[in-house]
């Protein structure tokens, strides 16, 4: 992952400086208005807080639509660069709706990336080229030693649903057919299992 030069300072301040207490309590719209039209120096704390709040959301959006963690990281930087630049130059007409603006920008950029991806795939297909997909290490992943006891504590049916969903990549109807259940029951079972896992991990973290 490479950082664009203009975001490098912003990123560094986000990861190295303590969170600005007053701004962290601000409404998203208040932050966006603080950035909008202000000079770079005046708004740097608000920009930092805005980045801290929205970059993770853009990253999750990217992960869903690009299915690649490195691409999702890049998307988060690119989107936040555009958003902050547009706010600075007063191009965001409704700073109070900053969430919608960030989402809209994310959607546009993902669509652009997908178009580029299709063009690239067509070129690869034409020249019979191959590319190895690399799954980068995910340093945010849950530690297996914490997760395993919680997975083991589930009812067998729920554990099977989670394995089929997240490991075998099966849909609810496929799991339903494999387990003799309805799709609705699979989704309910999955929700229940995830809630149990979450509680279990939280309890073990606290103890």
């Amino acid at each position: 992952m490479t950082l664009t030069p203009s975001l490098h300072g912003l990123y560094r301040s986000v990861v190295t400086s303590p969170r600005a207490t007053p701004l962290s309590a601000c409404d998203d719209g208040v932050l966006a208005r603080a950035v909008s039209g202000a000079s770079g120096e005046d708004a740097s704390d608000a920009e930092t807080e805005l980045y801290r709040r929205f970059a993770p959301r853009v990253r999750l959006f990217g992960l869903k639509h690009l299915s690649d963690r490195a691409a999702a990281d890049d998307l988060a930087q690119q989107v936040m660069l555009v958003v902050i630049t547009r706010l600075r130059t007063g191009e965001v007409r409704e700073p109070d709706q900053i969430g919608s603006f960030v989402l809209g920008t994310s959607r546009m950029m993902v669509a652009g990336k997908k178009r580029g991806e299709r063009r690239r795939a067509a070129i690869f297909a034409r020249f019979d080229a191959h590319e190895e997909a690399v799954d980068p290490a995910n340093d945010l992943a849950l530690d297996g030693s914490r997760l395993a006891p919680c997975l083991a504590a589930l009812r067998e049916r729920e554990r099977t649903i989670l394995l089929l969903t997240y490991y075998a990549d099966k849909s609810a109807p496929e799991i339903a057919a494999a387990m003799g259940m309805t799709s609705g029951a699979v989704r309910i079972g999955r929700h229940r299992a995830l809630a149990s896992m979450r509680d279990c991990i939280e309890t073990r973290r606290a103890s």
Binding site: Q97, A152, L163, Y166, S171, I201
Partner: protein
Amino acid sequence: MTATRTPCPSFGELADYWTSDITPDEAEQIETHVFDCERCARMLAEADRLRVGIRDLARSGNVQAFVNDAVLNRLARDGVRVRSYALDPGETVRCAVWADDDVIVARLRADFTGVESVDAEMRFDTGEEWAQATDVPVRKGETELVLALPAGLVRNAPTVPMRLTLRHSAGSSGERILAQYVFHHEGALERP
């Protein structure tokens, strides 16, 4: 002006975002909400970490569970080394785990007619319980259940006979034994 925020989805509903079950419309609703709600954005990230953690745990072979061919095929594709034993009801099998095994699979055949779920338990000859599972789903027409065990767990088990019993789930009327299987565990082996 402040937009009216939709109610927060449950953790499970947010987690559906990471599955193929979610429709484009549902995904858009979640995205619209999450970009306006930091709490739900955090929960969505938590759900992502959970699914990645479960996937990685399964890929490492460190899961004890009743699985099906979809999971076994995925393990094969991921290069996980699986050793299988297949048993009919009442059968005794000599078994061992080898140094390069990742997962041990027991294919437990039985007549599951009219059975919707079973409980399973594994006991040493001494009567001491080694493992148990409740509410194992049985699909209509099923002829075998597939139990996957981490090879590391089996490697460390005592080299004594173990009896695996399948029963109608506790909720069913009576507690009829469906089948029993005996594993003569001969320990961890290495090729010369």
